[in-house]
Amino acid sequence: MSAATGNNGVLNAHTLEEIDEWLQRYPADQKQSAVLAALRAAQHQNNGFLTVELMDAVADKLEMSKIAVYEVASFYSMYETKPVGKHCVAICTNISCMLMGSDTIVNHVENKYGIKLGESTADGKIYLKVEEECLAGCDGGPMMQVDHVYHMKLTPEKVDKILDSLD
């Protein structure tokens, strides 16, 4: 059984603290309940994407088998399991936004950076995430989520302003 809790410094103190805080909300023998939160914290620590090393550390911490953690991380689209740029730009292309012209926004951004959806800029700054689901901001479509912030009623100019202000 993989009961080892050795973390070997892979997860930093802040991440561990956050995981511990989540663990308090669940029964002691059901640590795996905290896996979503733990992966989110681990991804955050690593500038937006997970590595096998991080996932293994989460598995050890939560006394789960490693493959069970890989399953979770690869299932949810909010986790990135390949290296991506620092800022996550997710333009909604679901039905309402599409009707409101999300294609124009996507084209604009793709041209602006010379990359396609799903790719990151060479300087590692911008990641154009393929957003598969409706982000529930339909009333303000077309819209996008940049890191954790929603931006509504987009126009190419508005998008430029938002993206150019990223550090």
Binding site: M1, V52, S65, K66, I67, A68, Y70, E71, S74, F75
Partner: protein, 790 residues
Amino acid sequence: MSDDLINITVDGKQLQARKGQMLIEVTDAAGIEIPRFCYHKKLSVAANCRMCLVEVEKAPKPLPACATPVMPDMVVKTTSELAAGAQQGTMEFLLINHPLDCPICDQGGECELQDVAMGYGNSSSDYVETKRVVMDKNIGPLISTELTRCIHCTRCVRFGEEIAGIRELGATGRGENMRIGTYIAKSVDSELSGNVIDLCPVGALTAKPSRFSARSWELTQHSTVSPHDSVGSNLFVHVGNGSVTRAVPRENEAINETWISDRDRFSYEGLYTDDRISSPMLRIDGELKPVDWQTALSATAKALSDAVEKSGPKSIAALGSAQSTLEEQYLLQKLMRALGSNNVDHRLTQIDYSDQQLAPVMPWLGMALEDLENLNAALLIGSNVRKEQPLAALRLRKASLKGASISFINPRVYPMNFDTASNIGASPREQLLHLLAVAVACGCQDELVTRIASEATVDDNHRAIADHLKSADNAAVLLGNSSVMHPDYASVRALASCIASATGAVFGYLPEGGNTAGAWLAGCVPHRTAGGVATETVGLNAAQMLDAPLETLVLMGVEPRYEQINSALARKQIANATTIIISTHLSRHAVDHADVVLPSAAFTETSGTFVNAVGAWQMFNGAAAPPGEGRPGWKILRVLGNELNLDGFDFNDVTAVRGELKTLCRELTLDNTYSADAIELPEPNTNGHELIRCGDLPAYKSDMLVRRARSLQKTVDARQNVVALNSVDLQALGLEENAVVSVQQDDSTVMLKVAQDDGVPAGCAWLPIGSTDVAGFGSLFQPVTLVPGS
């Protein structure tokens, strides 16, 4: 009980069912066929394939039979238009992404998907778009993957999690991107991994060693029994063109349930190797040359009778195997005893024989295999049960999942596939001290224990083990493979039996080989003849045979250089004595030193009987012919008996041999009661810097067939050429992991890589016997020196 029974109607038939049962269990028991992929009676219900949809009256839509509990007066239709339509629809969707590459698929002809598609599907599909493709991963030497064929039933995943207890395969990604695999590049290392091959309803997971070698309809199926461990798993072997192509489980709920270990499944590969013997051989002018049977048999008879005549019957000896059949073991000892010698043994890995007169008539588990599941507490001593008797470990795992406290006192920490209460790994002397401490904690009043109680340091672990054993309704103390190898086996056994009596636990054994128990019954020991009758004089045991002045040594189905603790001595003795080898295979060393070689039939090639850990006599017939001129061992021994003009060797068939032994064993009852007469604590090792070589006989090195099974030898468990040390010792010696060292003992030397392994007790160098790298190298449990290599 009858309160729990309800009536349901399926396809017009009245059936009785227990409340809470799933519909599919009831229809399966009644022989009503419902198609399924994800459902398996030994696994949890996943209900993800939807193939088992049936019509249930009053339900608005078809329901999955595997996940629908029976209700009183439920009316079910499995073949109605609604049910059939639902099944057809499911089948069509399941095939959307399936490649339909049956002509090049190993599963073709025995594929559940093929069968169910034939029975319940449509002959054509409306789907014309592209299909999804999955890149395959290499998951090790035993299992081939073709995951484009996977239908995501998750049986393989559930098997790892629920049965094998080690989760290696998973379903990563989602939707169309979902795939079964290990995610990272990694081999699947469970000792039970092969079972997913049987579970997989399609050709996504198939047996790598037999891949592309035969079509299932070209093979004939034969029942047999595994020789490798004392569970005695029931097998089918599949034979094509006269040779065994694969082995699969034969269901037997009381023994192996529906599973087998990888060792049982893939050992057949060892049957067909370059060093398989196909003709009798005789050393002529210093060289081993093929001869006819008559010449070889006369030479054997002469070697034996000349030795007896010249130096007396004490100058001949025979080593039998715990993997030989009962009939072979019986005739081997009968032959030796008819020649006047009690020098016959099968206990090659044993060191301490001092209490052999107190041993039970045969080592047995002390309970049924199924009872292992109902234990509340157990202490296993010297047992890597997970690798050595994997199917027994599965039962212990079930007990553990139900809350049993299972503890180990072992020569090293062996990782288990279930939660252990204490898992102690210690040097031989420390093991005795741990056992003593547990005995003291149990309040054992035996004078043997109280006399030395002051030597014990009782800690919380010992107290917990004692408390668990005492408070459990069902408790057991079991001796495993490594306890037999312990330098003070008698003291281990004495302490174990004291602990068992003080706690009211069952005292039992997990015998090592598939027919270890049989060897005892057959009289393949120097102090008892068949049926456990004590002999007047005691012959040489397996260890004594190594340095006795022997004229002639008969080796039947054994390779002492791999199987005996003192490999260096074994090597010398075989070189010195006139050696007669009755065997299936001949190693390089044996080619150099054998004087007569008689080719015998292997497992799957002879009729015979194995007696398992619970004393079941399991009979089987040969499935394939031995190559060349090989003959069943019992026939070789019968003819030898005749050749030597000995009485009582006129058997017409193997049943007659078995019958004779059965009569001798008629009166026997199995009883492990042991009255200890001594407990010795060895002196502490005063040379603090000395490393002691420790080890076991690893599962994948256990016998000559397994050692030659190519694919098993490529697994992680068959790793060799390594000496493992605790990190403390590694540091003290200033060695780095993977450094090359020369390991020295007396005049033996071997170059090995160093591995860091904190499961190895401090002060021990873990270097097991059984592998080619250490064949002929020194002895276990003796000091070794490690010198950094260049």
